[in-house]
Subunit: 314 residues, 2 copies
DNA sequence: GAGGTCGATCGCCATTCTCGATCGGGAGGA
DNA sequence: TCCTCCCGATCGAGAATGGCGATCGACCTC
């Protein structure tokens, strides 16, 4: 019959370590916040479980046996390991602490993250933020497969089991050459795109689909099927090369676009809603709501924050 | 308020490790020989104790959280350490296994140990025998101070708290030159020593005191105060050099003493009783009695074993 | 031999562990 | 859309156990 240690409590291991340090039942018991009979009984229980004597007792002295020394040594290792567990748990008590894997779509990451990540790191020193830039569909899959804790994206999320908070409304602008016909207007109506060659991103970017539906409504057409861009920066270069115009979300705009100009739409401007999403079952929803609010409070003026739902108070 | 982990059971750590392996409450519970409600409740208790979620549950899947992964990793280390504790305990279940520190007096060690130590090691493979050769008074002190588990010596033990079992009666012989007057007798009476110069060991050897009292009774006298020997082998050389005669315990005799002869006394021969001693409180008394019996069964014919007390059976 | 110290033991109470039964919710199929 | 199955959570009851104060027995000191 094998020895079954599952019923052993960490307290018992603490008892034998304390006893080997104090060599005295009463003092060791006091150090463990129990009474001497308790320590005595628990030690006997442990010795019965192990089937060996751990301490040699007499009225003069309490000494570990040779085997007891070995067991106590291992018990110390066990308690050290549990100290680490306590450390992990304690840092987890703080809001936004510990590991957090955040996915961001490529048309958002480079433009939104600089606005809040440095402040976030400064505010929450224990946060171990891991960022991953992936397209929407992959991001949702990573969420579902527990490879991400939460994600920043710009699509209404149709998947059951994924919940989200809206963060802000990001209007689209039309990026066009300063010298072109469009650039003469201060504000565009969607119909102004009619007939324009609109440069779009590669397949898989949600921004492509959003721009495409806008184009269809405005009777514009996608330009150059063979030259789909893989990033907004590429689009910018293509516009500068005179290949057409493109749509840029507000955060991607530069203060000075050089030979180009970013034209806003008339209100209500077309745009996209950026949300923070996570699995409905994720136990750290409170953290995510705090993160959402932190992002809202660190937005540039070019986008309009959407107020979070008021928190229910217990 | 700090987290108190003392109430945590090794079973709970086993639960979370099993759950991280099976990703399924029912199967993990079966692997731990408990029911699913038990595992569910215990996990919740542990999460409440730590204050953090360890697993994210949904009806589709059970996945550790990022913090949970870390805790589980530490839990594995804890369980590994407890496996070692079990190993220590299990080897301790065998008779005469594990560390055993045995003291032996110098006039006994070199002559008695070869008769039983090799066989002992062969018979009890798990025994980790540590031998220390020390004089009687130091041996008793080492016993009292827990530096030794038990000791082989040849004195009636007056110290309360030390108990012993007698192993055998070891007769003394007189070692004398073959050509001397004594050598003409086959057996000696104690009075035959009268007038002889008897070479003795240095202070501190119990054999010295025993020989000395025999000499006093026989009106012999100690020879050469300035040349007290530090070992029986030195005594042998001194006898061979014609400096006198000496007393040797039976086990120290050689089959062929060369130019010397070992003369027995008439029955009842003077001698000494060799005993195995240990602290009364030592929890491994059963081991020591088994060791005593093993020694008795491996004695050469030159000494007479003393039967051990019959064991009380439960 | 009286008093003091120490670990072991006893009896009792409060807590907790465990179980079978059941609930509630989500997924998949008819 | 409803039904059924599967999963983890919850409930209620009984058993087991941890903890305590009080006390014992052994031993040491004065």
């Amino acid at each position: 019959m094998a020895i079954d240690l599952t019923a052993v409590t960490l307290a018992e291991l603490r008892y034998i370590v304390a006893l080997s340090e104090h060599r005295h039942f009463g003092r060791a018991a006091r150090a463990c916040n129990v009474t001497q009979p308790t320590l005595s009984a628990q030690l006997q229980k442990l010795e019965r479980t192990l089937g060996i004597a751990l301490f040699e007792r007499s009225s003069k002295s309490v000494q570990p046996t040779a085997q007891g020394e070995r067991v106590i040594e291992q018990a110390r290792l066990v308690l050290d390991a549990t100290d680490k567990i306590r450390d992990i748990a304690e840092s987890g008590h703080l809001p936004l602490a510990g590991p957090l894997r955040l996915g961001v779509i490529p048309t958002l990451g480079p433009y939104l993250l600089p606005h809040f990540v440095p402040a976030l790191r400064a505010e929450y020193a224990k946060l171990e933020l891991v960022l991953r830039e992936v397209k929407t569909s992959e991001l949702l899959d990573d969420l579902a497969q527990h490879r991400l804790d939460c994600g920043l994206l710009a699509t209404p999320i149709p998947i059951p089991g994924i919940v989200s908070e809206e963060l802000f409304e990001e209007p689209f602008h039309v990026l066009a050459p300063k010298e072109g016909a469009l650039a003469r207007k201060k504000q565009l109506a969607e119909e102004d795109l009619a007939g324009e060659r609109v440069l779009l991103l590669d397949e898989g970017h949600c921004l492509r689909d959003q721009a495409l539906s806008l184009c269809r409504a405005a009777h514009a057409h996608e330009s150059q099927q063979d030259f789909r861009a893989t990033s907004l920066e590429t689009l910018r270069h293509m516009v500068a090369a005179g290949m057409g115009v493109t749509l840029l979300p507000a955060l991607a705009l530069r203060r000075d676009e050089g030979a180009l100009v970013a034209l806003p739409f008339e209100k209500p401007s077309p745009g996209r809603r950026v949300t923070l999403a996570w699995r409905k079952t994720h136990p750290r929803a409170a953290d995510f709501r705090e993160l959402a609010q932190f992002i809202r409070l660190n937005l540039p003026p070019s986008v309009r924050a959407i107020a979070g739902k008021p928190r229910v108070r217990g």
